[in-house]
Symmetry: C2
Subunit: 107 residues, 2 copies
Amino acid sequence: MSFYAKHVFFCCNQRDGGERPSCNAKGASQMRDYAKGRIKKLGLAGEGKVRINKAGCLDRCELGPVVVVYPQGTWYTYVDETDIDEIVESHLANGKIVERLLIDQPA
Amino acid sequence: MSFYAKHVFFCCNQRDGGERPSCNAKGASQMRDYAKGRIKKLGLAGEGKVRINKAGCLDRCELGPVVVVYPQGTWYTYVDETDIDEIVESHLANGKIVERLLIDQPA
């Protein structure tokens, strides 16, 4: 079993200029902080449960802002707290993937 | 299938003081850069292959420095480039877990 049942990595890469878009310029760090707070408040944080982390560039910038949930390998994009709420409450709390936010088609 | 066959997160958290040890104070950022360079040199970087990332605190500080490989959920510690070489060449290139560096007992 995985140490964390759901280990969530927010790309928080900050680009200043250049051709590729920047997840962090679209609010990634704030949304990561928001998700972390929600998970803590719901009592879902810790071993065997959920961990929220920031990460460097996940190299899917054009689809960003992106977040990936492991070990499931589920990639999402999001716009605002409403989207984060849905990922938290549906996927992280209840194991149900949020299809409308997926960036990859289901296999 | 996972977008990256092996997605590797190095805890690069820097703590200045406090009771818990700091992965970054033990060379995590340098080892992450070293691993990234090795993967690139071996032609293993990219979609369907390997991605090396830095991450914030993975909350296993006492066992650090730590690195986790997803979607397998394999957690390692390491000391130096020799250990990173073994993780790269055995696990990341050839799919064979490096048992001596595991921080969790195999299930």
